[in-house]
C-alpha cells in the first residue's frame, strides 16, 4: 500500500527494510530527521542507534560495527560528510561495506540550508585520501530513494565498499506516495567479518592491495553504471541532470518535444561509476549537451564533458546551466535551451 512518506523518513525506513542494524550520526540540518526517525525506530526493532559526539566518531563507530559484521550506516549533510572522509577512506581501504547518506545543502563552509548538489565532485571522487572511489547513487523521487537504500547494503557487501546515497535537502523535505518493501534479513554469513578468533578475513596483503583495489574498482565501473535515458534516440540536444533537477529537465524535454524540438535527457542514477555507457549509446548528429545542476560553477558538467569527449571522440560542445542554491524551473530550462540553440550560450567544455 502506498503511503505519503517524507524523503528523510523514507531514507531511514528504507534502510531499515534493507537490513540496517547499526546507525551512528550527529545532528545536522537537513539530515537530522533521518537520525530522529531512527532514534525511536531502531530500538523498536531491536537494532542499534547511537547519537555520536561528532561526525568523526560516528563514521569510526560505523567502521568498527561494519568490521564486526553489522549492516551499518551514517548520514549527514555537506559539512559533516567532509568530516567523515577519513573514515570513509579507511572503510574503502579495508574493504568494509557501509552506507553513507548525504542530504546535501548548499555551499562551502557553513553554506546555507538550501537544497543543492554542490558536493558532487567530492563525493564522486572518493572524497578522502588515497586513490579510491565509493559507489554513489542519486535518487530523484522518494520511491527511488527507498528502492536504492533497500539495495544499498547488498551492493556494499557485494563489493565490500561503501555506498553513498546522494540526496538533496528538498528531496529530504518533500513527500510523495511510496510503497515500502518487506523487511529483509541478510541471507548469508559474513565469513570475512571480525569475530575475535583471528580467522582468515580474506584480508589482502599490503603489497597486493593496489592490484586488489584496481580490480575491484574496475569491476564496479564495468557492472554498476546506472542511468535513465529519455527521448535520446533521435535527439539533437541532450540534457544531462540528476536528482531533483532531472525531474525539471524531464518536464522541459516533454514540453520541447511537443513543440517539435529534438531534445532528450540522460539521468545518471549512479554518479560513480559515471554512466559513460549512456553516452556511447547515443545517435550520431548530436549538436550539444546541457548539464542542469544546482551548483555554482558546474561540477557534474565535468563528468558530462569527460563522457562526451571520450565517448564520441568528437568535440561536441558541452554547456552548463548551474543555478546555485535555487532549484531550476521548467520555463527557465526551456529558455536556456533556446538561447543555447540560438548560439547565445558559451560552452563550458
Amino acid at each position: 500500500m502506498k503511503e505519503m512518506w517524507k524523503g528523510n523518513h523514507a531514507i531511514a525506513e528504507g534502510a531499515l527494510r534493507g537490513g540496517l542494524q547499526f546507525y551512528s550520526g550527529y545532528p545536522i540540518t537537513p539530515q537530522t530527521e533521518v537520525m530522529e526517525f531512527l532514534s525511536f525506530r531502531m530500538p523498536e526493532l531491536g537494532r542499534h542507534f547511537v547519537q555520536a559526539e561528532n561526525e568523526i566518531a560516528a563514521i569510526n563507530m560505523v567502521f568498527g560495527a561494519s568490521a564486526t559484521g553489522l549492516r551499518s550506516m551514517t548520514g549527514s549533510s555537506g559539512p559533516g560528510i567532509s568530516l567523515k572522509q577519513e573514515g570513509i577512506s579507511y572503510l574503502s581501504y579495508n574493504d568494509l561495506p557501509a552506507v553513507i547518506v548525504n542530504v546535501q545543502r548548499w555551499g562551502a563552509a557553513l553554506g546555507t540550508l538550501d537544497s543543492s548538489q554542490t558536493d558532487y565532485l567530492r563525493d564522486t571522487r572518493g572524497g578522502g585520501h588515497g586513490d579510491y572511489r565509493i559507489i554513489v547513487w542519486a535518487p530523484n523521487s522518494i520511491q527511488e530513494t527507498v528502492d536504492l537504500l533497500y539495495e544499498a547494503f547488498e551492493k556494499a557487501e557485494e563489493y565490500r565498499n561503501p555506498v553513498e546515497i546522494y540526496s538533496e535537502a528538498a528531496l529530504g523535505q518533500m513527500m510523495e506516495p511510496c510503497e515500502m518493501p518487506e523487511f529483509k534479513e541478510r541471507g548469508y554469513d559474513l565469513e570475512w567479518s571480525w569475530d575475535g578468533t583471528d580467522r582468515d578475513h580474506e584480508r589482502v596483503d599490503m603489497d597486493q592491495k593496489p592490484i586488489h583495489h584496481t580490480a575491484k574498482f574496475k569491476k564496479i565501473i564495468e557492472n554498476e553504471q546506472r542511468w535513465e535515458s529519455i527521448n535520446t534516440e533521435d535527439a539533437e540536444y541532450v540534457f544531462v541532470a540528476l536528482g531533483l533537477p532531472s525531474r525539471v529537465a524531464r518536464d522541459a524535454v516533454k514540453r520541447l518535444r511537443s513543440d517539435g524540438e529534438k531534445v532528450g535527457l540522460i539521468r545518471p542514477i549512479a554518479i560513480w561509476p559515471y554512466p559513460k555507457k549512456a553516452f556511447e549509446e547515443l545517435p550520431e548528429g548530436i549538436r550539444g549537451f546541457l548539464s542542469i545542476e544546482t551548483t555554482d560553477m558546474g561540477q557534474h558538467v565535468e563528468d558530462v564533458a569527460l563522457a562526451v569527449k571520450k565517448g564520441f571522440k568528437t568535440n561536441i560542445p558541452v554547456y552548463v546551466h548551474a543555478t546555485n542554491q535555487k532549484m531550476p524551473k521548467v520555463k527557465e530550462v526551456i529558455e536556456v535551451y533556446r538561447q543555447l540553440k540560438a548560439g547565445n550560450l558559451k560552452e563550458a567544455f
Partner: protein
C-alpha cells in the same frame, strides 16, 4: 622458586619495535592475561596510529587498524557488533590523549564496555619524537628543541585522573614498565581492566608509562632510570578508579 614461563603464542612473531621499547613488554602482559583468561581467540585489538602500527605485522590475534585517534570510537562500534568478544583499543599517548582526546573522553563518558591501553612514552615516537601533551616539562623533543615550555604549551595531561574523577567508569589505573616490580603491578592492572570488561562492568583504561630510548636519545638501560626518575614523579602510579566491590588483588 622457579616458575615455568614462556611467552604466549600471540607473541610468537618477534616484535618490530626498537630495542628497549616498552611496547614489547606491554604486548606480552596483555597477551599473558588474554591467555590466562582463555581469550586468545576471543578478542579484537583496535590499533591506533603510532608505533603500535607495528603490531599489524606481529600480533597473533585479531586486530583492526583504524584512523589516528579514533580507536575508542571504532571499539564502540565493534563492541556493538560483537558484545561477547573482548574489544581492546591499543593506543599511544598522542593517539589517545591528543588527537583522540575527544574519542577517549566520550567513550569514558558513555561508559562503553571496552578497554583502552594507552602507552605513554611522552612523545610522538613513530614520527620521530615530537612533543606530545604528555611530554614532561623541559623535555627536549624535535618540536620542543629547547625543552618543553609549559607556559606556552600546557602542562602534562593526566587523562586517567580526568576520567576517574569525572566519569562513571569501571576501572582506571596507571602503571610503569621501568622495573620487574612495576611490570608485575602493571600486569595486575591489565588483568583488572580485562576482567572488568569480561564482567560487563564498563569502560576501563590503563595508562602505561613506557620507555622510549630511541627518541629520548638515551641508552636502553638509562631509559629505565629516565622513566623512573623523570616521568614517574609527574605521573603518579596506581589505581584511580577501583573496580566496585573488589579488592585489587
Amino acid at each position: 622458586m622457579a616458575v615455568a614461563r614462556k611467552i604466549p603464542k600471540i607473541m610468537e612473531e618477534p616484535t618490530a619495535f626498537c630495542a628497549g621499547c616498552g611496547h614489547g613488554i606491554l604486548n606480552r602482559l596483555i597477551a599473558e592475561v588474554l591467555e590466562e583468561k582463555g581469550q586468545e581467540k576471543n578478542h579484537i585489538l583496535i590499533l591506533g596510529v603510532g608505533c603500535n602500527c607495528n603490531m599489524n605485522f606481529t600480533w597473533g590475534g585479531d586486530k583492526l587498524q583504524c584512523a589516528h585517534g579514533r580507536a575508542t570510537s571504532v571499539a564502540r562500534g565493534a563492541k556493538t557488533g560483537r558484545p561477547d568478544t573482548l574489544i581492546i583499543s591499543y593506543q599511544g599517548d598522542g593517539d589517545a590523549y591528543v588527537i583522540g582526546l575527544s574519542d577517549t573522553i566520550n567513550t569514558a563518558y558513555v561508559n562503553t564496555n571496552v578497554t583502552t591501553f594507552a602507552v605513554n612514552n611522552t612523545n610522538y615516537a613513530m614520527t620521530g619524537g615530537q612533543m606530545s601533551w604528555t611530554t614532561i616539562p623541559g623535555q627536549h623533543t624535535t618540536t620542543s628543541a629547547s625543552g618543553r615550555d609549559c607556559e606556552s604549551t600546557g602542562n602534562p595531561i593526566k587523562v586517567p585522573e580526568i576520567i576517574a574523577q569525572n566519569f562513571d567508569v569501571a576501572y582506571v589505573a596507571r602503571g610503569s614498565l621501568h622495573s620487574a616490580k612495576e611490570i608485575n603491578k602493571t600486569k595486575k592492572y591489565v588483568r583488572n581492566a580485562i576482567e572488568a570488561q569480561l564482567n560487563g562492568e564498563g569502560f576501563s583504561l590503563v595508562e602505561v608509562l613506557a620507555q622510549c630510548p630511541t627518541n629520548w636519545k638515551v641508552s636502553t638501560v638509562d631509559a629505565n632510570e629516565w622513566l623512573k626518575d623523570k616521568v614517574v614523579p609527574i605521573y603518579p602510579l596506581g589505581e584511580f578508579k577501583k573496580r566496585e566491590g573488589r579488592d585489587d588483588k
